[in-house]
Symmetry: C2
Subunit: 252 residues, 2 copies
């Protein structure tokens, strides 16, 4: 499959950073040089640089070429919080179908995570997410009511809830993601086109604001034949260098 | 459950680093000050400092107090490569029972990962791993023959294969870990005391040496009610700070 040019340009720059062609501390070529090298438009080059900046690989760049700041890609905050942003980042087309959006009392599990009483009103969203049109994940989110109520003015079939909420000024500052495995329920199975009881890769997420107040509890279940997580790590040098670790969510 | 003192001392120091009581660049209190504060022996304090050093939180310290170098813990290379080291790091007692160790032709999957022809001799190890005596994981490793043959001189019921091999000079330099979910086979189920078909959290690992040559392909299957992976991430500051990410394997 042919990837968009900005994804390929970003891949080439990542490889040059990783192999030392562009060492830490060095400046990247100018935007116009990158346009010429990759036969790309300025918009394409800027999209590639934005991806690297998000990943923490480069910094600076207001009016001058950005500088390499790290050799290890870590998946950006946004692409770890947003299925839509992640899919775009890897050059795939995300999609979604809303199965249900409901204001109801918090479940026991959501209540613990959101630090509210069980039964306190929350907004629950259940969506099936696709990659290039193929079912990949079942997403269940519970938002505290003041945040979730914003979703009744949003077409949740249209794209990223994360982008919409942050655009509305919701302070989704920090996420804790817990990864385990779970058997598909009948609902999961029907929407993901698998047998009930099949193993699913589950990512539960608790998102809090700057003050540590919980805003969202989510339970995302991926078809493991479609999405996996990878972690690369390297032995620290004998001189006590920091451990080098890189984590990404990727297509299986 | 009461954790060993060195684990608790490390936890307290991590919290002080995380909350800024010990900011990046500052020196830690001296070993004797730490001994007095925590009513701990010098060995205990040194074990706690070794854990923080492994995690990349502190650096230096030859003859003077170490300095805080980062606020984000990443799980150390060693504890990500070795179940034994990981269990010790979190204050649990690891155990193992070897089910099989065999020299045989590489499976198709191992062969691809090890970059050898299918059927080329490898050494396969199948072990059941326990935490505090309770079955937690089924470990399947395939080593290239020159590495795996060292294991016929090792009592694989006695502890860490990783520690043994690195002690023998094997250059396990870099690991790629792929995390997904898989249904328990009859063998998995029997040893982990669950029903066949139950979802397991799987971590596949490919370990290579400095030159990139594959040495080991592993398939570790965890009971998700016993072990999960967590990833913490924080929104980068508007000034373009590096994304802050922390990944750990932990008790469910």
């Amino acid at each position: 499959m042919s990837l968009p040019l900005h994804v390929r340009v970003a891949e080439i720059l990542r490889a040059q950073i990783a192999d030392g062609t562009l060492p830490v501390g060095s400046a990247l070529p100018s935007e116009s040089a990158l346009c010429a090298t990759h036969q790309a438009s300025r918009g394409t080059v800027r999209a590639a640089l934005a991806a690297l900046r998000n990943e923490g690989l480069i910094a600076g760049g207001r009016g001058r070429p950005p500088v390499v700041r790290d050799t290890a890609v870590v998946q950006s905050f946004e692409t770890f919080m947003s299925f839509t942003a992640w899919a775009h980042d890897i050059g795939r087309t995300p999609g979604q179908r809303t199965i249900e959006i409901a204001r109801r009392g918090a479940s026991a599990i959501a209540a613990v995570s959101l630090e509210i009483e069980e039964g306190t009103p929350v907004v629950d969203v259940l969506r099936m997410r696709t990659l290039d049109g193929v079912p990949a994940m079942i997403e269940r989110s519970s938002f505290i009511e003041p945040v979730g109520r914003l979703l009744f003015d949003f077409d949740s079939d249209s794209g990223s809830i994360y982008a919409y909420l942050t655009g509305q000024g919701v302070d989704l500052h920090e996420g804790r993601h817990t990864i385990d495995a779970v058997a598909a329920t009948d609902v999961d199975a029907a929407h993901l086109d698998i047998d009930p009881g099949s193993p699913l890769l589950r990512e539960r997420r608790r998102a809090v604001d700057h003050s540590g107040k919980p805003l969202e509890y989510a339970d995302d279940r991926y078809r493991p034949d479609r999405v996996a997580f990878t972690i690369d790590n390297t032995h620290p040098a004998a001189n006590g260098a920091a451990p080098d670790i890189r984590i990404v969510k990727e297509i299986s």
